[in-house]
Structure formats: C-alpha cells, structure tokens
C-alpha cells in the first residue's frame, strides 16, 4: 500500500481492537461500494469513495471487481427515503473508475420486500454500470413469502440448490453461498448439509495456490450472534478451505464495514447502499440508523479499506476522509 491509504486502527479506546471513531466515519455511507483488487493472489478492497487516492496500477491489479450490497430497494423510511438515488450514486462511482472492473458481486438484500418491481428497479439501475456481469447471492429480504423461488428465477440460472454456485476468473475461484434459507428459531444464518457437501466437493480438486473468494449475505464469521450476525455452520465450510493459501470472504447484511484476519482467511463486510445499521450492541436493535440529512447527501463513502491485521479481536478498519 502507499502511504496515502491508511489502514491501521487509530482510535482503540477500549483496547479491544475496535476503532469506534472509524465506525462513526463509516456511517457517512451514501453511495458506497467496494472495489476489490486481486494482486499476487491476495485480494484487497477499497472504498469507492477513496479511489482517487489510488494509482491506476493499484486499482487494476490482476483482477478487479466491485462488491455492492444491501440495496433494500423499496425501503422508504426516514433512514433513507431515496434508496434508488444512493444505488445510482454507487453506480456512478463504479463508472468513474479509470479501468472498468471485470464484474460486480451483489451480496444480497437486493430488494426490501421481495417485490418484483423492487428487483426490476435494481436491475434497471445496474444496467447503467460499465461492468455487465453481476453475480448475486440472496439476502433474507430477497426470499420472503416464496422460499426464494422468484430469486432463483431471476438470478439463479445454472446454480445449485437454493442458489449456490462457483465460477473461475483469471485463476481465482469464486464461490457464492446461500445462508438465508430455512432459518431456525433462535438460530443464525445456515448453509445446510447439502450445500456444505457441495462446497467440499467443489474445492476438492483445486490447487492449494488457487485464490479463493467466498461471498454470501450473512457474515460467515461470528460478528455478533446476539443480533443474529453470524452463520451456524460456517466453521465447517471454512474447514474445507483451510488448505488454500489465500481465502477472502465477502459478506453484507450488517450495513457497516468490518474486517478480520484469521489465519489464511480475510473476512470483509460491506456497507449498504441504502442505510446504515448500528454497531454491534450499541443500540436496542439492529434497525436502520438515521443520520443527519446533510451527512447523507454530502459526505460519501469512506467505508472500507484493504486489510487489517485483527488477530483474534474484532478488527474494524479506519478510513480517512480524502
């Protein structure tokens, strides 16, 4: 990294690896997304709002793609009455990149209420993005009322089971997982036996040097189980990926950026393009958080950055304003 991009934890008042001031900055979030760059088999992610700080070479790497998440099309409460506008802002930033990313990942909660017109609006907005391929995994808001039938019809062509699949791009292996189906009372996100078996088989014959990128809606690490921010059987899924030198896990769901490094695995969660949620345990519930309108409209991005060495504490990335 260049000196211009600061990625360390600057304000760790509680000595728990959590940068709370960085968290607040993340709350200035409108039109956010992350550019992911694969370089030397290692994936780094950059907030779209910080791209002017990057050199062309850094922003390109061997492979670059964009992650967007939690568009919640149809949401119209005070936390953001214009979720279409903020998604368009994210697309504008993607289109402003000097080199167009190869493709986009959407890590779920495309819609707010699984209504066809909500999906239609997102499809229409994303059509204006330069990268034409979009790979989706469902969030729990995309599979309401019909066990994900509509989601599969729209986005699940060629996928297995409830919509999981894998593909290869420039030597990296991408795996889209579904952990929002068949949720049990009192539980967390779930992958399920059938999907885990498929995953084990999917990676069995890959070389250990193959960079792996896993993406799913609910975090595959235990962010805050009290709010359901974790996946019951993620440990088993990750056990199949132990042999690989570089594993990156990209999630959404929690509407804020967190990163963590554990062994060979780097975990990232992305901000929402729609509205922020409070940091774990810092509110009565994980409901939408209202931020002042001027912050909503004028201060963009500063969401995530590339990697942080978190060890076992929860690591949250600080991001500096341009």
């Amino acid at each position: 990294m260049t000196g211009k991009v600061k990625d360390e934890i600057l304000y760790d008042h509680n000595h728990d690896g959590i940068d709370r001031r960085g968290f607040l900055k993340c709350m200035a979030w409108a039109g956010t997304g992350a550019l992911c760059v694969m370089s030397g088999g290692v994936l780094k992610s950059y907030s779209l709002s910080r791209l002017p700080e990057l050199s062309g070479k850094e922003a390109l790497g061997e492979l670059s793609f964009v992650q967007i998440s939690d568009s919640h099309m149809g949401f119209n409460k005070p936390a953001n009455p214009d979720v279409a506008g903020t998604l368009k802002a994210a697309v504008d930033k993607i289109n402003a990149l000097s080199a167009a990313p190869e493709f986009m990942l959407h890590t779920g909660d495309i819609s707010h209420l699984s209504k066809p017109e909500e999906f239609d609006i997102v499809d229409q907005i994303l059509k204006d993005a330069k990268p034409k391929d979009v790979f989706y995994v469902p969030g729990e808001h995309d599979v309401l009322n019909d066990d994900g039938k509509q989601f599969l019809e729209r986005y699940g062509k060629g996928s297995k089971g409830n919509g999981w699949y894998s593909f290869d791009k420039k030597g990296a292996h991408f795996i889209g997982l579904v952990n929002v189906m068949n949720l049990k009372a009192g539980g967390l996100g779930t992958l399920g036996h059938e999907q885990l078996e498929w995953l084990e088989d999917d990676v069995k014959h890959l070389k250990h040097s193959t960079p792996i990128v896993v993406f799913a809606h609910i975090p595959l690490w235990s962010v805050y189980p009290e709010w359901g921010w974790g996946t019951e059987d993620s440990a088993q899924a990750l056990s199949y990926l132990k042999k690989f030198g570089s594993v990156t896990v990209l999630n959404g769901h929690i509407h804020q950026v967190m990163q963590k490094v554990e062994g060979n695995v780097t975990f990232h969660t992305a901000c929402s393009t729609a509205f922020p949620q409070p940091q774990p345990g810092k509110a009565d519930s994980p409901g939408p958080m209202k931020v002042p309108a001027e912050q909503l409209k004028s201060v963009l991005g500063i969401t995530d950055v590339n990697y942080v060495q978190g060890q076992h504490a929860l690591a949250v990335v600080d991001s500096t304003l341009g």
Binding site: S114, L144, A185, G287
Partner: protein, 118 residues
C-alpha cells in the same frame, strides 16, 4: 288430508329452523367472546412484546410490526405463519386449543416468542 300435510310441513320447518338457529346462536356468542379476548403483541426493536403470553382458549392474538424493518410471525411447529409484515402491518391468529405455541421471526430468527393457551 290437506290439514295433515300442512302440519307435517310446519313441523319440518320448526325442526329445520331450530337446527339453523342453534349453531347461529353459538357462533354469535363465540364471536362476542373472541372480541372480548383479543390480545396484542407489539413488535418493537426486533423483539416481541410481551415475548411470553398466557391466554385462555379462544383468544385471538394480533401482532403489529412497529419496526422500520419487515418481520414475520411463524410458529415453530407449523401451526401458524404470517406473510411478511411491513411497518404497521398486522397478523392475527385465534388459539382454539390449549397448548404451548413457540414462534419466531423467520427473517430474524433471534426474535422468538411463546403463547401459552390454557
């Protein structure tokens, strides 16, 4: 001859009429009873309030979602299941049998509740 036929018809009408009226009266009183025994559960801040509720048989419970985020009300044992409830939408279910009915939000499964019907 003519008289005996009309008596038979009248008798049939009386029996038939009583047959209709009896269940009608019962359902009217049942409705009155249900109205008296409607209980509310409010969904606030990702939780059911009250989370545990004890009610007599025949009670109708009305759940109202007061969050900015949609929720569902789904019986763990498959007894009842709401459609997704957006802000201020309601779901109601009448409990006609005694028992314990655990339920949860299928979107946010950490949200759980229980209805005890006695």
């Amino acid at each position: 001859m003519g008289r005996s036929v009309s008596i038979a018809v009248l008798t049939a009408a009386l029996v038939f009429g009583a047959g209709i009226l009896a269940p009608l009266r019962m359902s009217l009183s049942a409705t009155a009873q249900q109205k008296a025994e409607t209980t509310e559960v409010k969904i606030d801040n990702f939780s059911f309030g009250p989370a545990t509720l004890t009610v007599p048989v025949g009670t109708t419970i009305v759940w109202t979602n007061r969050d900015d985020i949609p929720h569902t009300v789904v019986s763990t044992d498959g007894v009842f299941k709401s459609k997704v409830l957006d802000t201020d939408e309601k779901f109601s279910f009448t409990f006609s049998k005694a028992g314990t009915y655990p339920y949860f939000c299928s979107i946010h499964p950490k949200m759980t509740g229980k209805v005890i019907v006695q």
